[in-house]
């Protein structure tokens, strides 16, 4: 099987921050590639700089050195072209559900009526009809994160950057939203980079998993996940699931078997 073309390639990115204890190197010569329609999870020890990678791709931070290429062209960042979703849903509390969904389209200066029509269509598709005029503080955590997902998807971003989007939710809601995400990604043909702490989630959703080393972060290994399951829940009952799970745990130096 021929591997699909590379959509985004990150080359030799270095980034350090100056702290109290002097310079702290967070990313050290980090390189990886993301294919067209890829679903890549990035896992690694806490504080290894996963969010920093996203901030650099999204154009919120500048790397000290290194380059990025998008479909073969050198780029500064993907600002305005990414859909960034974080652990906090970051809904604007003073905007209604509809207002929040419209945020990105407003920023682009798209005609109000057209944008609203599109927003209502998306809200309907995600089962949020009737909540258009509700304020975020009246919604449950799962609903809020669903609104955030719609806000991200409606902009038709080239790449979704998901930074532990479900980690603040309870397990059932998380499973449900993983399914919603997977379906949406299939429907809208999106490329996804997911940062997660949850190895289980990474295996159930991804085509590939990038394991990072501790700070300064480098790519330790890339695992291909070959589960043909249609949903994240059925993926978990695949016989190969636990094999991947344990392999990734081992990469992260987590003891999964008693050794005595």
């Amino acid at each position: 099987m021929q591997s699909p073309p590379v959509q985004l390639s990150v080359r030799n990115i270095r980034k350090s921050f100056s702290g109290k204890a002097g310079e702290i190197a967070v990313l050290d010569d980090l390189s990886f590639g993301i294919n067209e329609r890829d679903f890549v999870s990035i896992i690694g020890p806490s504080g290894c700089g996963k969010t920093t990678i996203f901030n650099i791709i999204a154009g919120l931070l500048e790397p000290d050195s290194g380059t990025m290429q998008y479909r073969g062209t050198e780029i500064e960042s993907l600002r305005g072209r990414v859909g960034y979703m974080m652990q906090k849903d970051l809904l604007f509390p003073w905007r209604t559900v509809l207002g929040n969904v419209l945020l990105g389209l407003e920023t682009r200066g798209i005609d109000r009526a057209e944008a609203e029509g599109k927003a209502r269509e998306y809200l309907k598709g995600f089962g949020l009809s009737g909540f258009e005029n509700a304020y975020p503080n009246t919604l449950s955590g799962g609903m809020r994160q669903r609104v955030a997902l719609i806000r991200t998807l409606i902009m038709d971003p080239d790449i979704l950057l998901l930074d532990e989007p479900f980690s603040a939710l309870d397990y059932q809601t998380r499973l449900y939203l993983e399914g919603v995400l997977k379906d949406a990604v299939e429907t809208y043909n999106k490329t996804v980079i997911l940062v997660t702490h949850d190895i289980d989630e990474a295996v159930a959703l991804s085509k590939r998993v990038i394991v990072l080393s501790g700070r300064p972060a480098r790519v330790k290994i890339v695992h291909d996940i070959d589960l043909s399951a249609t949903s994240p829940i059925t993926a978990r009952s695949d016989t190969r699931f636990s094999g991947y799970f344990h392999a990734l745990c081992a990469e992260l130096d987590i003891q999964t078997e008693k050794t005595a």
Binding site: L60, G80, M86, K88, L90, W94, E106, T107, Y135, P136
Partner: protein
């Protein structure tokens, strides 16, 4: 083993019921009784010769003067005059101050540059400016409004600037990742998130607006409640002084509730749920 915290014992239902007075009507009744009692004691004290009517006035005297001044239209005209000055000063001061405070968000350099000057201006008791303000702006309306503005603008400026600095960085980052420019970040994220703080200054500033108006009238004027109080007290006409003071009190009271209403209706997304109050 140390004693465990004793668990609250179940009280009989009757004992747990709230007292009858703790209802809106009950509270209003108690409040009215307190006011009536206060004036009755005052009047009694004056009649019995415990306190001097010459120095403190008397409720019946106040009532008589008040009635006469309402009938002549004098009180109403003074009230409107002072109210107009206060509200004009409040509105101008709040708008100018808030805009300046928000504008400082645009440039960290300018903000750091002017910060000590803002602190210095804020630390001057603005009332001390009153004589100069009268010199500059005359004895009419403008000097009172100017004094009110000097009091209210700085409060609004500091609140708006602080709130703009504290605006959620993640919301701003999200907008930037969507491709928003600085103006869009300002209008979509910064300004809305400062509104609660700016509106919270209304409560303090409406009071400062009144202070500016009244003090301005003390210094020099021909009209207004401040003028009324000042001239009456120099004539030892305490009843008239009290009429002015009570009118100011009522004015402040009404303005407070107007502001309260504005606060509640202008931020529908901030509706707090009073049902969540903890009962101790």
């Amino acid at each position: 083993m140390p004693d465990a915290t004793p668990l609250p014992k179940r009280k009989p239902r009757a004992a747990r019921r709230r007292p009858h007075f703790n209802t809106p009507l009950g509270r209003a009744t108690l409040q009215a009784l307190a006011v009536v009692g206060f004036f009755a004691l005052w009047e009694l004290g004056v009649r019995m010769g415990w306190i001097s009517a010459f120095l403190v006035g008397s409720p019946f005297g106040i009532f008589a003067v008040g009635y006469k001044m309402i009938a002549s239209g004098e009180l109403l005209s003074d009230t409107w005059f002072t109210l107009f000055e206060a509200i004009l000063g409040f509105v101008i001061g709040t708008i100018v101050g808030s805009l300046m405070g928000l504008a400082l968000w645009y440039s960290v350099f300018v903000a750091r540059l002017v910060e000590p000057f803002i602190v210095a201006i804020n630390s001057v008791p603005k009332i001390a400016l009153a004589p100069i303000v009268v010199l500059w702006f005359g004895t009419g309306l403008v000097s009172k409004v100017a004094l009110s503005v000097s009091l209210t603008a700085i409060v609004a400026l500091i609140a708006a600037y602080q709130a703009a600095k504290d605006a959620d960085v993640d919301l701003q980052s999200l907008l930037i990742s969507m491709g928003a420019d600085k103006h869009q970040v300002f209008f979509k994220a910064v300004v809305p998130s400062t509104l609660p703080s700016i509106i919270a200054t209304f409560r303090i500033n409406i009071g400062f607006g009144l202070v500016g108006a009244v003090v301005g009238e003390f210094i020099s004027s021909q009209r207004g409640l401040g003028h009324l109080i000042y001239t009456a007290s120099s004539l030892y006409d305490l009843n008239t002084v009290w009429v002015g003071l009570f009118t100011l009190m009522i004015m402040g009271f009404v303005l407070y509730y107007v502001i309260d209403m504005i606060e509640r209706t202008s931020l529908p997304w901030k509706q707090s749920n009073t049902a969540h109050q903890v009962q101790v």
